[in-house]
């Protein structure tokens, strides 16, 4: 496979994942804002912008943190180059560039989603439409992944795509957790207290884990349990442990197909050594924030190493 094509597949799935995660974040905020007073709602929208790292461009064109302003900026803001509409543009452009290495089912799922969303996001999204738009974004992810799972050849292209998905998902879960941590646990003393169950539920909702978490924990919402769930639970598909396992498998498959391990496999082993037997208490001891920042950096380094190992760009 061409290095450029591998790059296209990797980024096609990163952008798809990013769009879906962004929609979940907005959905969770939307729900939160509805159940809160105006001040709390504003804080919620502010944290969405902060989680996405968009404070500067957002504040350059907006005065306050009003829901409609935030979701329009995130979804389709002209001065936000990373808006969801352009993410889908990037998904489609990458799919087109890798057209002969994806199945027709995947291409059609991408193309149809893009046609629908590009039209939906061409005009400002009002309060009556936003729910439908966010649902459509998540559906797009579901459709593409479904087509992908059912029709893609399990060759290297498959593994580059999966690697992109899990690199991006791990990145997203880490950022959401880190942001909420600052908001929710101003000091270590709060760990274990049931300070603001609504806020913690919010974290779970952002990663589509609210229902399953409360099912597993009989409705007990507390910081330690949630961190354990999102970082260490290998069964939950958006947890860091799950993403790490999936990434490891895909990188191992690539190394097998190419007959040699690369720097990406070595970096993956470092992460495994570090996180292998970690407990939630150890994470809190070293500091959750420090742990998350370190994880983000390692995750990003693996992504870079994949691009080098497989000649994405040169």
């Amino acid at each position: 496979m061409l290095g450029r094509t591998a790059n296209s597949l990797f980024w096609m799935f990163r952008y798809l994942e990013r769009a879906e995660n962004t929609a979940r974040l907005l959905e969770a905020a939307l729900r939160m804002a509805l159940t809160r007073d105006i001040v709390a709602a504003e804080a919620e929208w502010r944290s969405v912008i902060a989680t996405l790292g968009l404070q500067m461009p957002y504040e350059a064109v907006n005065d306050g943190y009003d829901g409609m302003a935030v979701w329009n900026f995130v979804l389709r803001g002209a001065s936000n180059p990373g808006n969801v509409r352009s993410m889908f543009g990037a998904v489609r452009a990458n799919a087109r560039a890798a057209r002969i290495n994806i199945s027709s089912d995947v291409w059609e799922a991408v193309n149809e989603s893009w046609m629908k969303l590009d039209k939906m996001l061409a005009r400002p999204v009002g309060p009556t439409m936003v729910g439908e738009v966010l649902l459509a974004i998540r559906r797009a992810g579901t459709q593409v992944h479904g087509a992908f799972d059912g029709s893609m050849l399990r060759d290297e292209g498959y593994h580059f795509s999966r690697a992109g998905t899990f690199i991006e998902r791990a990145d997203s879960t880490t950022r959401i957790l880190d942001m909420k941590y600052f908001l929710l646990l101003p000091s270590l003393a709060y760990v274990g207290s049931s300070l603001d169950t609504g806020q913690w539920e919010q974290v779970l909702r952002s990663v589509a884990g609210a229902r399953v978490y409360s099912w597993l924990n009989a409705g007990q919402i507390e910081a330690r349990g949630i961190v354990e769930f999102l970082v260490l639970d290998e069964r939950f598909p958006r947890s860091l442990a799950f993403c790490r396992n999936a990434l490891r498998e895909n990188l191992a498959a690539l190394a097998r197909m190419h007959g040699a391990e690369g720097r990406s496999n070595a970096l993956m082993r470092d992460v495994d050594t570090r996180l292998g037997n970690l407990t939630v208490d150890q994470i809190f001891e070293q500091g959750l924030h420090e742990f998350l920042v370190d994880f983000l950096a390692r995750n990003a380094a693996i992504a870079e190493a994949i691009a080098e190992d497989y000649r994405f760009l040169a």
Binding site: A93, E112, H258, Y310
Partner: protein, 476 residues
């Protein structure tokens, strides 16, 4: 159903009777409920959008993607008509290859005084560094599209030769797929020659032209595209996909150890045959346009030393020139020793003073074309142009007469299209696709029928509001 007026209509004769080729189709058509056809017509549009069969229009807001409108009424050609056409096409394509070989070798045709040397010297498509070089297998035009028009029951003419990089074959294939998906019963009632193995024939044809440096095994074939923003990107991807070839861009390629190689996830890998869909100008920045980022620096050196086959060969574009076209009857006769089976459209070369005088006197009735133009740009259609447009064109023509040829405005045949109000005749042309390899010439039965969707319009180009139809060659 009603007959068209004036031009030859391929479905109905002058008294409104269905011609035999369309008899079974029309019976089927009349049996279909109106609602059904309406729904199918909408469905076709959705299919094309979903599958992404689009082309980009230059000059509109940044590379907007558009569909080429598809008309669901097929254009039908009988087996005997096709036999006649394919004999003529084969003769012409054979002559084209011999002509190109001669141009870049001894130029016998010029020595014999049958073609003015000026036509080569003044032509941008002429490549001096192809002189004396013989491409692998002696093939210049691996893929050719011959544009045909019809004016009567037995009157077919060649309007244009596309020897450079003919496009549109993906529409021939997708139009058929769409028709078969929409109207399966139609194909069980009428026996139509299949077109679907074109990509396999293309792959075989290209693989038959490996360069001297080919190291054995399965030849590595790649399609070179300018990229996803090119107007024909869909077709490039489609053909690569169907052939099982790689789809590469200039940035994927590099000359390594005397071969053109592509950057794969496992390192650089040599390419044997490059089906390039970029123009000569952009092929090699070291040889041609130094600003080109679409090509491969050094590919021409590799080519000349036998390291790669380029299809079509650089320098074939000269055969697309409309001044050269006007000599095609002589060219066919010179190289085949036979009278041309398919006539040219009558053509006045404006470089010739007598012809120029005639053309200037009759601008309002003629079609005038730039010799190097394509895509329906830069031409004058006298009968549908205003006095002012004609005057403006006259000035250009007088200033540079050798830049133009003129032809009579042909009464192109019509074939009905489906409209909300029923069938309505529209003008059509036909581009069959021809593959050439050392073993022979291979013509897919069918081709791309382009149709001018506007009533009365004679311009079928997709860039100018033309659509396409599925083209059927009936089995005997």
């Amino acid at each position: 159903m009603s007959a068209g007026s004036g031009s030859f209509d391929e479905m109905f004769d002058g008294s409104g009777q269905t011609r035999p080729a369309y008899a079974e189709y029309c019976r089927w058509f009349d049996e279909q409920p109106g609602e059904f056809l309406k729904r199918k017509n909408r469905e076709a549009d959705d299919t094309f959008r979903r599958t992404g069969i689009t082309f980009n229009v230059y000059g509109e807001n940044e590379a907007e993607e558009r569909l080429i409108p598809f008309d669901m009424v097929p254009r039908i050609i009988t087996a005997s008509e096709w036999r006649r056409l394919s004999r003529g096409i084969e003769q012409r394509v054979r002559a084209l290859n011999s002509f190109l070989y001669d141009l870049y070798h001894r130029q016998e045709i010029v020595r014999a005084g049958r073609l003015p040397e000026r036509l080569l010297r003044t032509n941008d498509a002429w490549l001096a560094n192809m002189v004396g070089f013989t491409p692998p297998g002696g093939i210049y035009t691996h893929i050719v599209g011959i544009d045909l028009v019809r004016t009567g029951p037995d009157d077919f003419f060649v309007l244009e030769d596309n020897a450079r990089t003919p496009s549109g074959v993906s529409y021939m294939l997708e139009n058929r797929e769409t028709m078969m998906a929409m109207f399966p019963d139609l194909f069980s009632r009428i026996a139509v020659e299949s077109v679907s193995n074109y990509p396999r024939r293309l792959a075989r044809s290209l693989a038959a032209c490996v360069p001297p440096a080919f190291g054995g095994g399965k030849p590595v074939v790649a399609v070179l595209t300018p990229g996803i923003y090119n107007s024909a990107y869909f077709e490039h991807a489609f053909l690569a996909d169907q052939m099982g070839a790689e789809l590469v861009e200039g940035s994927d390629l590099r000359v390594v150890e005397g071969r053109v190689q592509m950057r794969t996830t496992r390192g650089y890998k040599p390419i044997d045959v490059l089906y390039r869909r970029v123009d000569d100008d952009f092929l090699d920045p070291l040889t041609f346009n130094p600003d080109s980022v679409l090509g491969v620096p050094g590919i021409m050196d590799v080519y000349r030393s036998g390291g790669i086959t380029i299809a079509n060969a650089p320098g074939t574009g000269i055969a697309d020139d409309k001044a050269i076209y006007s000599f095609m009857p002589e060219i066919v006769e010179f190289y085949t020793g036979e009278k041309p089976l398919l006539p040219n459209v009558q053509t006045w070369r404006c470089a010739d003073p007598d012809s120029l005088a005639y053309v200037l006197d009759n601008l309002a009735e003629l079609v005038v074309k730039e010799v190097h133009g394509s895509g329906g740009y830069g031409m004058l259609i006298g009968p549908t142009s205003s006095k002012r447009e004609i005057a403006a064109f006259r000035a250009k023509l007088v200033a540079k007469p050798e830049n133009y040829i003129a032809q009579p405005t042909l009464a192109l045949s019509t074939c009905p299209i489906y409209t909300a109000k029923g069938l309505a005749p529209r003008h059509v042309d036909l581009r069959p696709f021809v593959l050439v390899n050392p073993e022979g010439i291979d013509i897919t039965p069918g081709g791309l029928t382009r149709v001018a969707l506007k009533k009365g319009s004679l311009v079928v180009n997709s860039s100018q509001g033309g659509g396409t139809k599925d083209t059927w060659v009936l089995k005997d």
